[in-house]
Symmetry: D4
Subunit: 244 residues, 8 copies
């Protein structure tokens, strides 16, 4: 209980500790904002550790390699405009950089519900200890905990877990995966990154789920840029909140 106190007071809560969530967290943290990343697994980084094809490498299209430069991660040029880096090296450096920027992490943490105020605004998350999913009912009776905040970012990947909570309440409609067939889905993910409900920003592959973009398009580069864009949108929302 006491241990949670340091996490209670935050400006932005990011759900999902994969690449887009980590980049968003780092960008926000660098501006001095209080950021908390909650993650279902025991580790951070998600699928970033092994890349998209079990090959331990990540491939990035220009200009995404500039983010690797920021993180001091070495890479090689595979072909014109295509760069390859060791996935575990890039992944650990990105997490470390988020931590250096002051981001706090809460792993083994499951999103159970959202705090939605009377003014129809997402104002926090309700979380629980994720391992209780494995426990028998008699022992799993652990009460969830609300964490209030100003902006929530859904960086939970294809599952779009946060957006789906709003769909269950009937206030948001997801297009479903693969509804649209567009060639440039990688760019589309970055372009569609944004606020989908007052107080909720979607980033990374969750964008594809919300807007029905085909699954196979977006790559790690677009996830990193989507994270940057999500941070910008969150900052704008926070400024508007301060004004109003």
């Amino acid at each position: 209980m006491r241990q949670l106190e340091e996490y209670v007071d935050s400006d932005v809560i990011i759900v999902g500790g994969g690449p887009s969530g980590l980049v968003a967290g780092r960008e926000l943290g660098k501006t001095g904002l209080k950021v908390l990343i909650i993650e279902r697994n025991n580790y951070l980084g998600g699928g970033f550790w092994i890349g998209g094809y079990f090959m331990n490498k990540i491939t990035l299209r220009a200009p995404a390699q500039e983010i690797l430069d920021e993180l001091n991660v070495p890479y090689s040029k595979a072909s014109e405009g295509l760069y390859v880096a060791d996935a575990p090296h890039a992944c650990s450096k990105l997490i470390g950089a988020a931590g250096d920027a002051g981001v706090k992490f809460l792993q083994l943490t499951l999103l159970e519900d959202l705090v939605v105020r009377d003014d129809n605004r997402v104002a926090g998350v309700v979380v629980n200890w994720s391992p209780i999913a494995y426990l028998p009912k008699e022992v799993s009776a652990l009460d969830p905990i609300p964490l209030e905040t100003k902006v929530v970012i859904d960086a939970t990947g294809h599952d779009a877990c946060v957006a789906k909570k709003l769909e269950q309440r009937g206030v948001l409609k997801l297009a479903g995966e693969g509804a649209l067939w567009i060639e440039k889905s990688e760019e589309a993910v970055v372009e569609h990154t944004g606020e989908v409900y007052p107080g909720l920003v979607v980033a990374g592959m969750a964008v594809a789920t919300v807007y029905g973009l085909p699954r196979m398009g977006p790559t790690f580069g677009s996830m990193l840029f989507s994270g940057k864009r999500a941070a910008e949108v969150a900052i704008e929302i926070l400024q508007q909140l301060k004004v109003s």
Copy 2:
């Protein structure tokens, strides 16, 4: 297949990517040696991500905080000689530092067997893709691959997987967990870190299993120092090999 080529030629192979293996790898990498860490999971760091009590914190007794200083990980003083750091921050920085030192990583990789030459010396590992354990027999017929090297470090934790392969062949006897009851088991782990069979060094909690030290004693501090010690021992072995 081709992807494995860069891993085939190494001076030291470390089995297990937890804290002791990562420190050993970083120390060896800094000297210019070629080091490969193989890890069963998709991510590196093992139990380091959540600490020993699900609290996302690691506790270190002096002078282990000096290693955090090396890694630029912030920490606070809990009491005299006892320091506390954020586990995910420390973990990611340690992995990143090993990568910076040139260590290569191969996750989702299972140790199947050891290469033991006629001269009764461990001369490599035989590995496979760990997810095949989940596949039905018809599909799991993936041939293992031998990776030859000069020194192997067993950093697989309580399981002591590498040492157990030698026990199965009848050339090494493990004491079993908890056989001895000693108060200072934390120090004992560092002291007993060393070569247990020609070409095989044990580090971290694998030391406790080999020598029967009680499980609850050693903490993250001793694992980090054990990793440092294992690197020193491996360098000595490599020097002797060069001489002979």
Copy 3:
């Protein structure tokens, strides 16, 4: 069969042997009413044994500590108006007190259906031996047994199992968990405790499910007071039945 005879004739049947059901049972028993508590598990007390955070402690806000005084359970003051007691001690004393008040218990008993008379009134429960859920179909063919009574109390916690049986028949609509976001959900649970359908009273966390109160609010104190309130409501219903 014969063993069930002593349970057949009761004034009130309480479904669920957790804190709110036990308090309700004890209050009713003290007035001389015949009370039967049926419980799915082999033991009574439910989540009361370990408290809400696996810590073996229960926390109560004033004036809930007065119920501990009634039960002769020691407690300490954590802060102004906040009291802490050993969970297993409080739990066993509460069960013992219900037994002292003449309450009968039937564990390993599952609610299969409700007896609903032509006058649209809950008039009993249909139960079965709960372990048959684990048996293979061939062996699980155990006929259920009806137990008639005057008032049923749903003290089954978040599942609100009894109320849900009425929802399946289309005569009651549950709001669903977390539909409303209110700060004072603890008090709201006690206030909403009452008769939701002729002959059915809801108590404890089942109230939250019926009215859509957020899950994380209510604590053990409100469950105990909700049990007291449910007993008062049941007594009123019984008096009206006698009159009519």
Copy 4:
């Protein structure tokens, strides 16, 4: 962690919170000794809640009903010298009485190992949080905790979990269930209750396993008396320890 401090300093640790362990704990607690009962389940009482035949009743042969008198549990006479009581009432009153006597309880706690000193004496238990057995390996890495004490009582029933730990170390040999066929096994359990290794007392059905008594004989009466006997033996051991 902090929460465990109150449990660290005890005179006797009883493993298993069933009837024999509870009686032993209450007797020891009444003398002012510090007693801790650890229990694998979330609740105390074990099979006492449902009796031996799923019938919610316990049957006791005289003079065991005197213990019910001590606990203020009502009972009826089934035949000459045979008494019947409601199992959940008796069970909760016994737990409450142990708590009244100052016994501390630690549920969801698994015995992992024993502390055995150089002087070949059981000097404590090594425990862990029992739900980790349900967790996947990646998340279950919770370090065990040693709890030192002066006497350990094995009240774990047929499993005789504590005695088996000594058998694994090769210092105690269990006879195995049903090795002997004796008619008066109920009395034999009480008679054989005692110290089987320096610092370890066995009580209840664990006695039957250690000495090979047939399983069907002993009943709840003998378990209660065996608990009383175990408390007497433990007090003798503690007095001898004080002398030496």
Copy 5:
């Protein structure tokens, strides 16, 4: 394949080899009709072997004991108008009597679909070997076989498997279990036994499911009489078919 030939040509197919199906089969067989009983399990008799309460006894209300007289099964009088017999003795004698009457049996046989002709009449069953449900998909590709007949009797108990196939096609609506609460459900089952769709007769507990009678009422006596009634109805249908 060849083995099925003797079953292909039948007047009545009864789905389910429990008490009502067996009685119906025996009655029909005694008139010289060709009857086939198909049964999902490897054995016939269903829940009749153990009775309704795991007690190996069946209880019958007068005049159902007359059926036991017909079968030469001994019984005793429990109270006025209530008779008790050994379940396995009665069960095996009933199966044997059906066989003596010329009934053929096909166990391990699952109903997959119904043959429904253009004239909206059930004209057969489509069956498969029931153990394929346990086989992996690659091996379970066993083609089903149609068995044509004149009348089908649904004696599948609470599941009412045959009637449900018609509900799936939208031509029959089942009331659902427990929709009605009537005291005399035992008699109601016999009264409602009859043709529910051209060519389909329901018998035994399947009647309760089709008409929404409460589950706990009907007993073995009503199942036996329902089987007799189903046979009468089937004979009437066959006579009408011959006429038309």
Copy 6:
């Protein structure tokens, strides 16, 4: 409990209700002896219901068809000396005939142990309710019950469950399946049927397991004759017991 009384007093207990056990039981019952058959499943007959090849037919070599004549089961001649009967008809008639001879049945009953007296003689069985194997440990604590008798017959098929209990105690050694290769294993099973330990007779396929006969040889004919032989041996033992 009370329900078991009628089973407590028996001359012979047969473990396993398949064809050899049923024939043995019928033969013994016809002489007026008190016989109890205990069976693990809910139904009697075992594999007899479907024959050896899922074909619902049993094949018998002469003169085994004479047993079918005794039971009034029709059969046809497949070739010279080879007869075929409907398996469910034959099976139910055999069970019914055993019941007619006064045999008592106890299904859903598991052999847990044997009663072996000081005079090294099997003097009873210790049984439990077999469905507890499916229940979770917390609920499965059902005390076993001893049933004393004069002779026990092991008719448990290939498992030879009774004989194995003696092997576990080290007083009987089973040859293991398939140790010997003999052509006439069908006759060998009947010849070897007999007493293998004072008070224990083996019958049917259990004989093959005890003596290492090949599994594919014996058929239903030899099982029926082995049951007859076992009855003869049991009668001899009972006569000797009376003499001594």
Copy 7:
């Protein structure tokens, strides 16, 4: 990745490597078209290996034996117009013949989605590695791959997996199995083989699912002819595409 290049450029993609898919592939390949067959299992042939009744034989009605003549598979005449062949021989020869005709195979490949262009035309498949279904979520994050083509053939058997993807998008409605009862379902399958949506042809048992034909009718002969017909239809579509 590179390994997939040779499969990327194809004229027709056939989903499902059973008999109808193989015949269709062979016919198309013989005309010089580029054909790719994707198959979920590790092997090709599907249920063809064991025939429809576990008997290792396939039965064909005339004139389907002519296809065996083409493949040089021996067969025997069972009765007039009915031919029997060894299933594994016929199956392997058919696969070999498809390979000889230039067909490429991609096993262990799962259909995840379809590429549907703006012009409402199926223009490719989205596939993944089928074993990921067995992997835990953390490791199964393998990105799917689009394979574009001109015509897709659904030869997935009763599941009609490809057609179902269109049903999920609401542009195609399947009749459901067994909706129609027609005697000549074998011929009906061949007659209904054809294009059901621009760019999608259905073949084999998938035809029965789309049009609601009864499952037990069609046999291997109709599957082979349906494959031939599907190839003809695909060629017509390709010619129209070339024209337009």
Copy 8:
């Protein structure tokens, strides 16, 4: 039953339908011998369908490509002396060629035991239907069937199932996998192919298990040649049998 008659009379039974078993079968069949291949799966070919690295390709070192020439399977040259072929094409052609040579196949067939005569000679196999492993015990009672023959070839791969049956009887000792470390294990497999017990020849990877060769060495080329060698050895044994 009747269906098995054609398989009963054979000269050689090969257990395992992978590449070495298929080549051995084809070679033996070409000489006019009667050969039966039994296979656990529903399909033949084993791991040959996907090659050793999930890549759908097989790699062969010269002169193994000559076997592809015999089978009319196209291949390409990867480097000097190294050839690559499509795995499904090569696999189906090899099975087809074995069928063309008169080999009979029995899939879904499990080896249960061996027939070992008094003269200490393997003289047949005892088999069962492999899917019974998935069935519950009550339904799986399918009697095994002996198939007598003159020579048995163990082509079951790493499991060496046939050789292990002899190890269980204590007449053969397997070295265990990886006991020896030799570089040229591919050649060693072919060299060690031979008779390991009178009447039993080992082929393919079963050779590696029997002699302890490292697992990763042998490839498809050595398996094909080992099959050829096994056929030669079997012919020699048959000639010696004819002589004696």
